[in-house]
C-alpha cells in the first residue's frame, strides 16, 4: 500500500497504480480522453495533466505511477489552462459539424470542451479533407474526426487481438488506418465493432440501413418481416434512456409494429432451431468420430476471425448457420408458403446488437431461399433512432408477443445473447438427445459470468462432455492455439467475438463498461427463468416447423436451408502485436 496526497487528502493506492487510478479510488476525477479502463494506458492526449509538488513540469496522470509521499494537485490554474489549450488544439483540427454528427449526443470531446469551460477558440480551424473509409459493409471510418487517441488501435490489437488497424505516417500526416491504407473492407477486420464502443468521438460508426428500411416499410407492394436478436431486448431500453439491464422484449415487439413492420417475428425462434440442428450435429460428431472439438458458428465476427487467422481449423466449425441466417432462409420459403405470399415481395429485416451481422447478411452464400435471405440489418442503436424519429415512447408501450409461427421461443433461446448462453442452451437439449431424458437442473451456473475463458465437465448419461466458453477474440486465440497444437481436451467450444457476448456487441449502446454488459446479460437470464419452456426442443413452433416443413434435424431440407460453408481468407498471421 502506498500513501500519497491528492489535493490535500491522504489517499491509499497500490504499488504500480497511476495517479489517475489512485485519484479515482478517492472519488477524485481527472479529465481525460485517451485513457480508458480496460485498455493499456497511452498518455497521448495530455488532458490529464496534474502538478506534483517539487516538479517544475506537470505530469500526465494516466501514465505516471504513484510514489510514497507524493503530493499531487489536480486542479491548479496551470493545469486548467493546459487542459483548455489541449482541447482548443484538438478542436482546431476537428470538423465543425456537430449538428449532423452521429455522436453529437454522446461525444467525449464535446463533453471535455463543456466540462473544462472552453468558451472561445483561439486557433483557426484547419481540417485537411480525407476520404471516408466506406469499404466495409459493416463499419464506416471518418479519419477527419479522428483525434488520434488510439483507443480503437488498442482495442483491436490488445483486446481483440485482430490488429486490423494501426497508426501510419507521422506528424500532421499521422492517421489510423489498415495495412497499406486499403480500408477495413479489404483488411482482416472481422467487423466486431468494438472499436465503435471505445471511440470518444464520431470517427467510427456503423453503416446505416435506416433509410433502406423506411423505404421498404413505405412500399405498399412489400411485406416487411422483422426478427430481433435476444441481446437487443436487454439493451434497447437502455439506449432509449431506461436503466441498463431493463428487459423490454414485449415493448420492442410493440414498437416494431408501430413503426410499420408487417410481421414481427423473433430471432429467438431460430435460436431454438439452431440448437436442434447444432445439438444433433454435436451428438453425431461425438458418436461417429467426427472432428472435435466442435466450435459454435453463430457469431459472424468469430467466423471471419477463424477464416482469417485459423483457416486450418475450419473443419471444427459447426456447419449450422447463425440464427439470423436460418431465420432469413425460412422467411422467404416456409413463411410465404404458410402466409400465402410471394417470396419476391418479402423484405427480410433483422435487428441485431451486432455490426458483423451486416457483413454476414451480404455473404454471397446467404441466399439459400433463392433470394437474399436477410436484406437489411439494423443495430440496436439504429432501431432506437427510428423509434425516436417516429416519436414513439417505448416505456409507455404495452407488452406484445411476436407472432407465433417464427416468433415463439424458450428460455434457452434468449440466453444466446450472453457469453455462455449458447453452450448452456445446447447442453440442455444435447442431454435429451443423448440420454432420452430431460436434464433437470438446467441452470448451468459454471458456464455463466464474465470471466474470459470458462470451462466445465457435464455428465450426460455415461458420457462426460468437456466444454469451454470464451468471449473476446483475444481469449478465443488462446483456445484456438491449444486446438492447433493438438492439445485441446474439449468436445465443444463456444466463442463470442465481443467481450460479454452479444450483449456487448458492436451495435449495442455505446460503451466498454463490462459491469453494464453483465447487467444486460442478467436481464436475459431473468427472462429465461420467467418463461414456461426453457429447453429448445420444447418450442412448439420449432416442432411444427419440423413436422410441416423440414422433416428432421440434419435432414435434406435443413442441409440446404440451414447449413453453410466457410471461406478461408489470406491473412496468414500467426502472431499478434
Amino acid at each position: 500500500m502506498i500513501t500519497l496526497n491528492i489535493n490535500g487528502e491522504q489517499v491509499q493506492a497500490n504499488e504500480g497504480d497511476t495517479i489517475l487510478e489512485a485519484a479515482k479510488k478517492a472519488n477524485i476525477s481527472v479529465p481525460h480522453l485517451c485513457y480508458m479502463e480496460g485498455l493499456e494506458n497511452y498518455g497521448g492526449c495530455g488532458l490529464c495533466v496534474v502538478e506534483v509538488e517539487g516538479e517544475r513540469n506537470p505530469t500526465r496522470a494516466c501514465v505516471r505511477e504513484v510514489a510514497p509521499g507524493m503530493k499531487v494537485l489536480t486542479n491548479t490554474s496551470k493545469v486548467r489552462a493546459i487542459r483548455k489549450t489541449v482541447v482548443e488544439l484538438l478542436l482546431s483540427n476537428h470538423p465543425q459539424d456537430c449538428f449532423t454528427c452521429v455522436r453529437n449526443q454522446n461525444c467525449q470531446l464535446l463533453d471535455a470542451a463543456s466540462e473544462l469551460g472552453v468558451r472561445s477558440l483561439r486557433l483557426n480551424n484547419i481540417v485537411e479533407k480525407r476520404d471516408l473509409d466506406t469499404t466495409s459493409v459493416s463499419i464506416t471510418r471518418d479519419p477527419n474526426k479522428c483525434i488520434l487517441c488510439s483507443r480503437c488501435i488498442r482495442m483491436c490489437n490488445d483486446v481483440q487481438k485482430v490488429g486490423a488497424i494501426d497508426f501510419s505516417n507521422r506528424g500532421f500526416e499521422l492517421e489510423v488506418c489498415t495495412f497499406g491504407g486499403e480500408g477495413l473492407g479489404k483488411s482482416e477486420c472481422v467487423n466486431c465493432g468494438q472499436c465503435i464502443h471505445v471511440c470518444p468521438v464520431g470517427a467510427i460508426y456503423e453503416r446505416s440501413a435506416i433509410n433502406d428500411v423506411w423505404a421498404a416499410i413505405d412500399d405498399p407492394n412489400k411485406h416487411v418481416v422483422v426478427q430481433e436478436a435476444p441481446a437487443v431486448r436487454a439493451a434497447l431500453g437502455e439506449e432509449l434512456g431506461l436503466p441498463p439491464g431493463t428487459l423490454v422484449a414485449g415493448k420492442m415487439h410493440a414498437a416494431l409494429k408501430k413503426l410499420g413492420f408487417d410481421t414481427v417475428f423473433d430471432t429467438n425462434f431460430s435460436a431454438d432451431l439452431t440448437i436442434m440442428e447444432e445439438g444433433s450435429e454435436l451428438v453425431k460428431r461425438i458418436t461417429t468420430g467426427g472432428v472435435l472439438p466442435m466450435f459454435t458458428s453463430c457469431c459472424p465476427g468469430w467466423i471471419k476471425f477463424i477464416e482469417e487467422f485459423y483457416p486450418d481449423l475450419l473443419p471444427h466449425l459447426s456447419s449450422c448457420k447463425s440464427p439470423q441466417q436460418m431465420f432469413g432462409a425460412l422467411a422467404k420459403t416456409y413463411f410465404p408458403r404458410v402466409a400465402n405470399l410471394k417470396p419476391e415481395n418479402i423484405v427480410s429485416v433483422s435487428i441485431m446488437p451486432c455490426t458483423a451481422k451486416k457483413f454476414e447478411a451480404q455473404r454471397p452464400e446467404m441466399n439459400a431461399s433463392g433470394y437474399r435471405d436477410v436484406d437489411y440489418v439494423l443495430t440496436t442503436r439504429e432501431l432506437a433512432a427510428m423509434i425516436r424519429q417516429a416519436g414513439i415512447d417505448l416505456a409507455s408501450l404495452p407488452d406484445v408477443q411476436a407472432e407465433e409461427l417464427m416468433g415463439s421461443y424458450t428460455g434457452a433461446a434468449t440466453i444466446f445473447g450472453v457469453t455462455g448462453g449458447v453452450m448452456e442452451a445446447a447442453l440442455r437439449s444435447a442431454y435429451k438427445l443423448i440420454t432420452g431424458t430431460e436434464l433437470e437442473n438446467i441452470d448451468l451456473v459454471p458456464l455463466r459470468g464474465m470471466k474470459g475463458i470458462r470451462t466445465a465437465k457435464v455428465k450426460v448419461g455415461d458420457l462426460e462432455v468437456n466444454v469451454a466458453v470464451a468471449h473476446g477474440l483475444g481469449n478465443a486465440r488462446e483456445l484456438m492455439d491449444e486446438v492447433r497444437a493438438g492439445k485441446s481436451p474439449y468436445h465443444f467450444i463456444e466463442i463470442m467475438a465481443c467481450p460479454g457476448g452479444c450483449v456487448g456487441g458492436g451495435g449495442q449502446p455505446i460503451g466498454y463498461d463490462m459491469a453494464i454488459r453483465a447487467t444486460r446479460g442478467e436481464a436475459l437470464y431473468k427472462e429465461d427463468k420467467s418463461l414456461p419452456a426453457r429447453r429448445s426442443h420444447q418450442n412448439p413452433a420449432v416442432q411444427k416447423l419440423y413436422k410441416d416443413y423440414l422433416e428432421k434435424p440434419l435432414g435434406e431440407k435443413s442441409h440446404h436451408l440451414l447449413h453453410t460453408k466457410y471461406t478461408p481468407r489470406d491473412a496468414e498471421i500467426t502472431g499478434t502485436k
Binding site: 486490423a164 494501426d166 505516417n169 495495412f179 502472431g575
Partner: protein, 154 residues
C-alpha cells in the same frame, strides 16, 4: 504469396534467426535493398516472421521517408535544392534534367528507367550544385555535364 517473394524473404530472414521485434527496421532495410521498395507481400511475410501484425509493420515503415511502397526507377536522379546548390545554379540543373528526360520533378519515365526528385541538402555544399544518381554523387554540375552523364546512361 508468390514463391519469388517468399524465396527472397527467406534469404533475408536467414540472417535474423530468433529475431525479436527490434530487428524490424534492419529487416525492412534489407527487404528494400532486395526489391527496390517494400512490396505488400514482403511486409506480410515480415509480420508473420516477427509474430506481429501487418499493420504494425506498415506503421513503422510508413513513419520513415526512406521506405518506399512502390517500385522505383532504375536510375533515381535527385537534384539538390539546398542553399549552396541553389545559389550556384541548382534550379538550372533541375531544368536541364527535366528537358533531357522529358519528365517533371516527381515523375518517372514510362519505361521505369529514370525518375526525378529533389532533396533538401546532401551536405556536399563544397561541390555545389550537386546531383545524385542512386548512390553516386555528381558535383560541380553544369547543364552540359547533365547531358553528358544522362547521355552516357541513356
Amino acid at each position: 504469396m508468390t514463391s519469388a517473394v517468399k524465396e527472397k524473404m527467406s534469404g533475408v530472414f536467414a540472417g535474423h534467426k530468433n529475431a525479436k521485434k527490434d530487428a524490424l527496421i534492419p529487416i525492412l532495410q534489407e527487404t528494400q535493398a532486395c526489391f527496390g521498395y517494400l512490396p505488400d507481400e514482403a511486409m506480410r511475410e515480415i509480420a508473420t516472421f516477427l509474430k506481429t501484425t501487418p499493420g504494425a509493420v506498415f506503421g513503422v515503415a510508413s513513419f520513415y521517408a526512406m521506405f518506399r511502397f512502390r517500385p522505383t526507377a532504375k536510375q533515381r536522379i535527385t537534384v539538390c535544392r539546398g542553399t549552396a546548390c541553389h545559389v550556384r545554379g541548382g534550379p538550372r540543373i533541375l531544368e536541364e534534367v527535366e528537358n533531357v528526360l522529358k519528365i517533371k520533378d516527381g515523375q518517372m519515365t514510362a519505361d521505369g528507367e529514370y525518375s526525378i526528385e529533389e532533396a533538401a541538402c546532401f551536405g556536399s555544399c563544397a561541390l555545389a550544385p550537386v546531383m545524385v544518381i542512386n548512390e553516386r554523387v555528381y558535383g560541380r554540375m553544369t547543364p552540359v555535364k547533365v547531358r553528358e552523364i544522362l547521355g552516357k546512361k541513356g
